[in-house]
Amino acid sequence: MGAGYLALQIFNGLVSGAYFALLSLGLAIIFGMMRIVNFAHGAMYMLGAFGAYLAAKYLGLPFWWALVLAPVAVGLLGALFERTLIRRLMPLDPLYNLLLTFGLALVIEDFMKLFFGTQGTPYAMPAGLSGVIDLGITVYPIYRLAVIAISTLVCLAVWFAIEKTPLGAKIRAATENPQLTEAFGIDVSRLTTFVFAFGVGLAGLAGVLAAPTTNVTPVMGSDIIITTFAVVVIGGMGSIKGSIFTGFIVGIIAALGAVLYPPIANTLIFLLMAAVLIVRPTGLFGAPEGQR
């Protein structure tokens, strides 16, 4: 195994990292504003993939349209859940919303099974991205490069929007002190709905990106959410930057582990989590308890 080969595997890790980063970024945004962990995030990821499938099948829309429309649709659904269910439990312990979204995840998954069965639905590689390019060591699918690019771009854009724009300032303000922000004339409740919708929209986007490379089934979200939680625990729900960074890093470590000793592939992220927790209970980027 040469250095080039290893480099290629690291590169490959960036692809799974791209999904983790989008998912944990969405979780982090929602958590930052609402202090809740969205257990239905995996279900939203799955809905994103199905959104792409449905858009192609019934509206004849190509991948690029789905990339925009499916996350928006998922976001709107998220907004509906936020307005009708999650909001009611906001004044209570955040654990209630963890339970609620856990129930939601079960319901969404089973609901989709009713309509789409379990075998999976075909979703083809977008035409323009279907080839491979020769990276010297071996060939590599163009689409995977696109996934890395799109995810990185979106993550950076989200980071920029939150850190550098007036809308981002409102979100940061509402995160820090919602009551006061409201008293400054900002409709925090609408902002909260928007943030929740946006966070799950990111999960939907990850789902659309995954659709061409994995089997699109109603259960695709329920396993990735647990791994994403582990990623989030490793990173610590500290910052936007932290969630993006941890997402990619964990992707790379998992990919390397899978090659060096395949049987460990699934366990590795969790072992990593245990190790990080022993050294830093708050995760890599987490603020110490009490301050957050």
Binding site: A230, L271, L277
Partner: protein, 325 residues
């Protein structure tokens, strides 16, 4: 803080205990014995879980690791070493205790949502490890053909009804232990920590040590349930370690009522009977149970028994009880 019914009135507690016991004695006569046994086992599991959630305020989403872990330990000892009932169960409970101590020492340093996520991830880690060591655990096939062990010299547990009553006895003992712990001075301190941790700290209580002990006790009793599971079913599988199993025990406890000890004893049969019947009626049991769960979390947050206890208390002193909760 997670809502829970305040300390049970003695009379209500007695009534609930008798009700649960009556239900336990009645079950095998109205349901097939396999399901009845499952109900008893899960009721014990849920009661153990409630010791942690209801009395310490910690929501674990990884309790399958104790349940499943113990089921594998008991299963292996019976299958490979032909241990009899008591030693096998004891060893399994011990194993669950050890896992709980290990995981608890790391997880207990965080609380609330972090604790839930960490325990969830640790549970899944054990799942993958068990999947990994297929030579021992049978991997995806699970441990099959675990013969029922001997109870004491000469008596094999082959009779399902006998086994049911053994499980019932173990569950009664387990629930009684939960009650004793909850009402012990230690249990009082636990409630104090749950209600106001900084104040308890300021009184000199090392709160994380108390929480860890509660976590370990809860894990040990969940392990007892797991050991009974493998004996009752003659096999165990990765499903017992899967996070959905952790989720199921959460659902049962919430449906029954958090912090009531007795709530889970009614939540478990409710969940299992519905799931059992739905498996012949529909292909989407999760849909129905999920919707019920969402309604309970949104509207009847105290759970079935919790709402009942709350209503009875409320009738007695309407003016004092705080709104919301």
């Amino acid at each position: 803080m997670i809502a829970r019914a305040a300390a049970l009135d003695r009379r209500i507690a007695l009534a609930l205990a008798l009700g649960a016991l009556a239900l336990g004695l009645l079950l095998p006569h109205v349901l097939y014995v396999g399901l009845a046994t499952d109900i008893v086992i899960w009721a014990l599991f849920a009661a153990a879980f409630d010791l942690l959630l209801g009395y310490t305020g910690l929501l674990s989403f990884g309790h399958a690791m104790f349940f499943g872990g113990a089921s594998y330990v008991a299963g292996l000892l019976i299958l490979r070493a032909h241990w009899s009932f008591f030693p096998a169960v004891a060893a399994a409970v011990l194993a669950a205790t050890a896992i709980a101590a290990l995981v608890g020492a790391i997880a207990i340093r965080r609380q609330g949502i972090y604790f839930a996520m960490i325990t969830l991830a640790f549970g899944q880690m054990l799942y993958f490890l068990a999947n990994q060591f297929g030579d021992w655990t049978g991997g995806q096939d699970g441990l099959q053909n675990v013969q029922r062990p001997t109870l004491i010299a000469g008596i094999r547990l082959d009779n399902d009804t006998l086994l049911y009553y053994i499980a019932l006895a173990a569950a009664v003992l387990g629930v009684a232990s939960v009650l004793r712990v909850v009402n012990s001075p230690f249990g009082r301190v636990l409630s104090a920590i749950r209600e106001n941790e900084p104040r308890a700290t300021s009184l000199g209580y090392r709160t994380s040590a108390y929480k860890l002990v509660a976590f370990v006790l809860s894990g040990a009793l969940a392990g007892l349930a797991g050991a009974l599971f493998v004996i009752a079913h003659r096999f165990t599988s990765l499903d017992t370690l899967d996070w959905h199993t952790s989720g199921e025990v959460v659902i049962m406890t919430v449906l029954g009522g958090i912090g009531t000890v007795f709530g889970p004893l009614f939540g478990a049969p409710f969940y299992l009977i519905i799931n059992d019947r739905l498996s012949t009626l529909t292909t989407s049991p999760g849909l129905v149970l999920g919707i019920i769960f969402i309604i309970v979390v949104s509207v009847f947050r105290r759970g079935m028994i919790g709402e009942l206890v709350y209503a009875l208390r409320r009738r007695r002193h309407v003016e004092h009880v705080a709104p919301g909760a």
